[in-house]
């Protein structure tokens, strides 16, 4: 519907088939997903467990290849992982043997993002990101010495320090308590660039099973269904930005959440049966 030249990412008939390890039967995890994601757009993917949302994210990251179909970034097919597409994993995937600052600097020191930077520039960038996620004072600690919320912020800082074009986040707030989640959702929007013009925002894809989280964060919500995993619906979230806590109490917020819940409910009930 929107002009194709604005699309940052294009998924074209993407299908992923696995061989189930126990039964050795081929299982379709993701079937015929076609989706355009615009530059600077914040897209949330919701769906019942087993709908293949993580698989979609891993394929966009380049960690898995589609069995069929193609994913394009800036009109070039994705063939493998790249620092242009940074990933924040569900359990953060922090390196336990590195301190907070060394975790944040890992990509800069060892990967492509640091290739054009001097040691001093890398140091400055690490420092800036420690401040960005408000971890000053904890930079020399190891991950196991941090709370869940702090680890999550280290993972976010590490993701951003590498300067990716696209942020891929797989249920990053899933393991946190309710209050911390609410705080970090607002913080995430701030860091993503909610207050900046659209052109300066990063493209973000965020997986969650929390419908209200999706409505609060997203420009657009992709609702997926399972068996096989496919796109069931796309919803534009027409809540004004910047969003603050009040948006959660508005009527429109409730309507959108309800609409998504209606789309998911039957399958969600099936999934727990």
């Amino acid at each position: 519907m929107q002009a194709v030249e604005n699309a940052k990412l294009r998924l074209k008939d993407v299908t992923k088939t696995f061989i189930a390890p126990r039964t050795l039967k081929p299982t379709v995890a993701v079937s015929d997903v076609t989706l355009d994601i615009m530059r600077g757009e914040f897209v949330c993917i919701v769906g019942p467990s087993g709908c293949g949302k993580s698989t979609v994210l891993n394929m966009i990251a380049g960690l898995e290849a589609p069995s069929d179909g193609t994913i394009f970034m800036d009109d070039r097919p994705i063939s493998g992982p790249s620092a242009e597409r940074g990933v924040m994993f569900q359990d953060y995937a922090l390196f336990p043997w590195l301190t907070v600052q060394d975790n944040i600097g890992f990509g800069l020191r060892n990967g492509t993002p640091g290739h054009s930077l001097s040691a001093g520039e890398i140091k400055d960038r690490i420092e800036a990101h420690i401040d960005l996620v408000r971890l000053r004072g904890s930079e020399a600690k190891y991950p196991h010495q941090l709370s869940g919320g702090m680890r999550q912020r280290v993972a976010l800082a590490r993701l951003l320090a590498n300067g990716p074009d696209v942020l891929l986040m797989d249920e990053p707030l899933g393991a946190l308590d309710a209050q911390t989640r609410l705080i970090l959702q607002s913080e995430l929007l701030r860091i993503w660039g909610e207050t900046s013009p659209t052109a300066q925002r990063k493209t973000a894809i965020f997986i969650t099973h929390d419908i209200e989280e999706a409505v609060f964060l997203a420009d657009r919500v992709v609702v997926m269904s399972r068996h096989p995993g496919r796109v069931r619906a796309l919803l534009d979230i027409d809540l004004p930005r910047p969003r603050n806590e009040h948006v959660r109490t508005t009527q429109r917020f409730g309507e959108l959440s309800e609409e998504i819940w209606q789309l998911i409910r039957d399958e969600a009930l099936e999934a727990i049966a």
Partner: protein, 284 residues
């Protein structure tokens, strides 16, 4: 038994639990655990007491000398200096063989962890050799190396090899695929991932392998030196056995225990230095 109903009554009347579920005061043995050093000393004292009682009952100093006799022998061997010569020789053989074993086994185990093909080729031979005790190779080693310093080094290297190769392999295999994936999404190349992600992931398991290897090698040194070396702790034990000088034999046995214990303490220190993230708190 006579106080099941009445005896415990004042302590716990707050709940509806059974009377014998009253909060228990920790007994003296449990309380002593809180004071560092006391319990190991008691454990050792208990052992010495049993030994002394056994020696007194037996009454034959050649079969089983008493603790004071052994302690006296220890002091005289230390004064003489031969204790330190032999312990130093054995320890240097241990260090040489551990170094050789680490240099061979760690790269091999690492490579096996990375390459399933190599593992499939090498693993059957390793599994075939692994159950064979190092001591079983002494006759062959005598033909090849003769009596001397090389034989115990060979035996100890052999013994140390297996825990090192197995643990290194397990550590590499156990490296968290999520962490490797994370590094790939940061544009980190394959070689760097091996050096900066897989190696540190495997290091705690490798260090456990080093400790197991050291314990195994140190156990094997005695047999190896007993038969195959003209010097060292094992040789000294055999020498004094032939002289029927049991207190000195036992003194050397004690030295073996002490040196092994100290070597493991040194490795634990190294472990804390190399893998500080595994200390204090879980690996999460």
């Amino acid at each position: 038994m006579e106080k099941t109903q009445t005896g415990a009554k004042p302590a716990s009347r707050d709940g509806d639990g059974p009377a014998n579920a009253a909060p228990q005061r920790p007994g003296l043995p449990a309380m002593l655990l809180e004071i560092p050093g006391v319990v190991p000393a008691l454990s050792f004292a208990g052992f010495v007491a049993l030994w002394w009682a056994g020696a007194a009952w037996n009454g034959n100093s050649i079969q089983l000398p008493t603790p004071p006799e052994v302690f006296g022998a220890l002091v005289s061997l230390a004064r003489d200096g031969e204790l330190f010569t032999n312990a130093g020789l054995s320890l240097s053989r241990l260090i040489v063989s551990m170094s050789i074993a680490v240099l061979i086994a760690v790269p091999l185990g690492f490579w096996m962890g990375l390459s399933e093909t190599l593992r499939r080729y090498v693993d059957p031979t390793i599994e075939l050799l692994r159950p064979i005790s190092g001591i079983a190779w002494i006759p062959l080693a005598l033909f090849i190396f003769g009596v001397g310093g090389v034989l115990p080094v060979f035996i100890m290297t052999y013994v140390a090899f297996f825990p090192l190769v197995m643990n290194t392999f397990a550590g590499v295999r156990g490296a968290d695929p999520k962490l490797v994936a994370a590094a790939r999404t940061m544009g980190v190349g394959r070689l760097r991932i091996t050096a900066r992600v897989v190696l540190p992931s495997a290091l705690p398991t490798i260090m456990v392998g080093v400790r197991l290897a050291l314990a195994g090698a140190w156990s094997a040194i005695i047999a190896a030196e007993l038969i195959g070396a003209p010097t060292g702790l094992g040789f000294a034990i055999e020498w004094y056995r032939e002289l029927l000088a049991s207190p000195k034999v036992f003194a050397y046995v004690g030295v073996i225990a002490g040196v092994g214990y100290l070597a493991d303490l040194a490795l634990q220190w190294l472990q804390r230095r190399l893998t500080p993230w595994t200390v204090g708190g879980g690996l999460s």
